[in-house]
Amino acid sequence: MDILLPVLLVVVIALVFDFTNGFHDTANAMATSVATGALKPRVAVLISAVLNLVGAFLSTAVAKTVSSGILTESAKGIPHITTAMIFAGVVGAVLWNLGTWWLGLPSSSTHALFGGLIGAAIIGSGFDAVNFAGVVSKIVLPAILSPFIAGGVALIATFLAYRITKMATLRGTERGFRHAQTVSASLVSLAHGTNDAQKTMGVITLTLIVAGYQAANTGPQVWVITACGLAIALGTYTGGWRIMRTVGKRITDIESPQGFAAETSAASTILISSTLGFPLSTTQVTSGSVVGAGLGKKLASIRWGVVGRIAIAWVITLPAAAIVGGLAAWLASSSTTGLIVVAVAALAGGIGFVLLARRRPVTRHNVNEDDNARSNRETVGAETKG
């Protein structure tokens, strides 16, 4: 099979994934700020987009984990995977991301991506192709632990913030915390760029290494970093109001001291993990810290039903994306026609989800609307249709 066509397809689909990641995860950084009124929705996404782009250039440790930590390598350092399989894996991730976006679930783009890649590698090259020790150590464990770490830290910080300011009843504290939220939300966006933009860079770099365009065990090239940064920034600016509503309003009603504590906790957890090369799910960290901030004030104010739905989405994301990725890999590896069929299916699926979401749009105008009856109706509708 011709090498250039699959490589180009991977680059395109990876950038599409990055774009969906951007609008899927804007919620993480800005949801609590928009919910408390600290930032206007438009301003929030603009700041977030710019800082995502900046973050993409700051650190590339996570990109290296993706390109050389998940799959086993041959003696020459070339991972056991083909470009067609990588393409199929990313298709699985994009479809899963769009599906959960439509349902308003803050599922992990990271797990969707890794699930897709792992599924594609297993179907294409067998179980030996996956470096399971690396997957457990660098992906599964950080993924399980990070929301609890961020949640615990946010809980303590929220408790202290309320204690010190007498439940934020002192004059000027509410406004003071809102100003602080502007900074802490910006840090989350920056952290998002250092972790999430990296994953796409890692995939493109992996492809270039496999196709022989780049030496093994090297970092991403400048054009890859730039393209990924721009794609995620554009996606962020386009805005993910749907998930923003779940994170900012449905889990718990966030007040500005809680938002500040949650964002500071999420930003520090993600930034330190990025430095160590752990590809954390920024979605899970932010959701965890929001739950922690809710608990830090009052235990009863968490809507555990919503948390439960999010948790289920977390658990099934990696295996589900692995199955979609595996199927796509089986098809794409068979022939060039199969590859084209996968590409067309991805495109059709993507457009389909966007059209479905248009029926009940969540925009910047109704992002803070929290009518329980309406959300219940949406949940039921989503479940029957999904």
Binding site: S59, A133, V136, L160, G176, I272, T275
Partner: protein, 98 residues
């Protein structure tokens, strides 16, 4: 150099179940210390800056602030130290600066 050096030092030393527990513990400790430090300092700053404003506004309805200069200075100092801690943290995680 604290954060980055310690991280590379514990890299690759796979422990129980082949997992690099040291790095995970490090994430936990650093996130806790940094977050609690920043949030506590900022909250303290807000509290100090609200000194002398409680009674005045509720009883007489006047907006005048009777805050001792020391409280003003200490309040802003807390916020400034918190801001410096954030900037230092960002500086630490950017490899280009090292």
């Amino acid at each position: 150099m604290g954060i980055v050096r310690a991280a590379t030092g514990s890299d690759g030393s796979a422990g129980f179940l082949g997992v690099d527990w040291g790095s995970i513990a490090w994430v936990c400790v650093v996130a806790l210390v940094v977050t609690v430090l920043v949030v506590t300092l900022y909250s303290l700053g807000l509290r100090l800056l609200s000194v002398g404003t409680e009674r005045t506004s509720s009883e007489s309805g006047s907006e005048q602030i009777h805050r001792p200069a020391i409280a003003t200075a200490a309040g802003w100092a807390c916020i400034a130290v918190g801001a410096i801690a954030v900037l230092y943290g960002v500086y630490q995680v950017i490899p280009a600066f090292h």
